[in-house]
């Protein structure tokens, strides 16, 4: 046996008896950040391939959602900060060794690039919205906006070329943020970064399927998502495999989802409902079956959030020392 007990009064808020310093805010932030990353990667790729005109929502429509989604995510992140008035301190330095510092600066790059992509695609994809904006602006602001639209349209592919690595960086960062913590065995697995990126991409594809009324666009991205979900399952297998074959501490960490207290949450709410069932529905749709087209994407979005809920919680339950 080996039993360790704290015999003096240690009950630090959010630390004891087990760590629970990150609540619902961080999974929501990671989910919305990953979704935004997926949108940017998807739209930038389609623009670079010059196929954004074919797929109105994936190529440009979702770009209108991205700043809102990211702002909601950053709002959740702000709520999580314990010393809120000092939030500006993120932008007084850049710390190479801190993934959170990288993330803070990447988030700052996302907004202007997102805005330029919107400006570059709006006239073609959503002429009514473009016209509505133009009609409401007068004088200097109208002139500046018209110049912004013209510049963005001329340089659309160049902007997409910058956006693609930033989007990939944002998606990977949401995973690296956790995997960089050696102290938390459940998080300290390098495959977490690509897994979060792929999951973010899958949720972005699900959002396309959810909002598009174009059945051709729905069908095409349903097929793409089928492939992405299979990649996600492969990465999940690698995550489990690398932990099972690692140190005793990591083997104990993975037990949380293979018999431990997060098993039901992981296998029922994430894997079965958020991954396997939508995969099955997408396969059925591929074979011509008629299923409500909002079911599979809705489940994927739900699964994406549940995945982050499980991972964030699991990491905090694992440690090198079993106090």
């Amino acid at each position: 046996m080996n039993e360790i007990a704290i015999i003096t009064n240690k009950a630090n808020h959010l630390i004891d008896p087990v760590l629970h310093f990150w609540g619902w805010e961080i999974p929501v932030y990671l989910f919305l950040g990953g979704l935004t990353a997926g949108i940017l990667v998807l739209s930038a790729t389609l623009i670079l391939l010059q196929r954004h005109r074919e797929y109105r929502w994936a190529g440009s429509g979702l770009l209108l959602f991205a700043p809102v989604l990211l702002s909601l995510g950053m709002g959740a992140l702000f709520l999580d900060l314990e010393h809120k008035l000092y939030v500006w301190r993120f932008y007084t330095t850049f710390r190479l060794s801190s993934p959170m510092s990288w993330g803070a600066w990447i988030l700052l790059l996302v907004y202007p690039l997102n805005l330029l992509l919107i400006a570059g695609t709006l006239r073609e994809s959503f002429p009514a919205v473009h016209g509505w904006i133009q009609a409401r602006l007068r004088g200097r602001s109208a002139d500046l906006t018209a110049r912004l639209f013209a510049w963005s349209e001329r340089n659309l592919r160049r902007v997409a070329g910058f956006t693609l690595p930033v989007g990939l960086g944002l998606g990977l960062y949401t995973g690296i943020l956790l995997s960089a913590y050696v102290a938390r065995p459940f998080w300290n697995v390098s495959v977490l970064a690509p897994l979060f990126l792929v999951s973010g991409l899958s949720t972005a594809l699900a959002l396309v399927m959810l909002v598009t009324a174009d059945s051709r666009e729905h069908r095409f991205f349903s097929r793409v998502d089928l492939f992405v979900v299979l990649v996600e399952i492969l990465l999940l297998f690698l995550l489990g495999f690398s932990m099972f074959t690692s140190t005793a501490t990591q083997q104990a960490a993975v037990h949380l989802i293979t018999g431990g207290e997060l098993t039901h949450l992981f296998w029922i709410f994430f894997f079965a409902l958020g991954l396997a069932l939508p995969l099955f529905i997408e396969l059925m749709e591929l074979r011509g079956a008629h299923v409500n087209r909002r079911v599979a994407p809705g489940l994927i979005l739900f699964g994406g959030l549940m995945f982050r809920v499980v991972v964030v919680k699991a990491g905090q339950l694992t440690s090198w020392i079993s106090n």
Binding site: M1, N2, E3, I4, A5, I6, I7, T8, N9, K10, A11, N12, H13, L14, I15, D16, L19, F21, W22, D80, L81, E82, H83, K84, Y86, V87, R89, F90, T92, T93, R95, S97, S98, P99, M100, S101, G103, A104, A180, Y181, V182, A183, R184, T247, T249, G315, Q316, S319, W320, I321, N323
Partner: protein
């Protein structure tokens, strides 16, 4: 040469009285409900050959401090000229990255929102005094000093007895050593 402050704690002498905890709270005016140090009791082995160990624990002021590496604003830093890990409350956003990074769960959130932790009683050390926890220990099981100085009491103790650090596999190179 830079100082490498450390503690050597004799687990055979420690009786788990908790005086170190009270002294720390009093000296550093640690708010109610929060603790910079604590005492654990570890029982290992199989009956009838059980082994009991008391340990006074706190921030390990690691040579390779993951909390400092994880901090996005530079609020967590290592004091120049030593290995004492400190927090600048005026730079801290309360993001808790350092809390996640510490394998010893030694950091906590102050009521004001910034991160709190053991400072090795820097204000006392600068005056040539011992940290409060060390100075009050009735069993004299705690020794504080410069691990870089081969003639210091801590270095001598480490040479004379078998010792261990907590979670050395985490790669943090802790500065608190336990004599076993």
């Amino acid at each position: 040469m830079a100082k490498r402050y450390g503690m050597v704690i004799d687990t055979v002498k420690c009786i788990g009285c908790g005086d170190c905890v009270i002294a720390c709270k009093t000296e550093n005016k640690v708010p109610e409900g929060l603790h910079r140090d604590w005492v654990v009791e570890e029982v290992s082995g199989e009956f009838p050959t059980l082994h009991l160990e008391f340990r006074s624990e706190r921030c390990n002021h690691c040579e390779n401090p993951p909390c400092v590496h994880a901090c996005p604003t530079g609020a967590s830093y290592v004091q120049q000229g030593s290995n004492i890990t400190l927090v600048d409350g005026g730079k801290c956003t309360g993001c808790k990255a350092c809390v996640a990074a510490c394998p010893y769960d030694a950091r906590f959130i102050m009521p004001e929102g910034f991160i709190g932790k053991c400072t090795f009683c820097l204000h006392r050390v600068e005056k040539g005094e011992q940290p409060a926890c060390v100075s009050v220990c009735p069993a004299h099981c705690m020794t504080f000093g410069d691990l870089n100085d081969p003639s210091s009491e801590v270095s001598r103790l480490l040479r004379s007895r078998k010792s261990k650090t907590l979670a050395p596999e985490a790669g943090t190179r802790p500065s608190i050593h336990y004599l076993v």
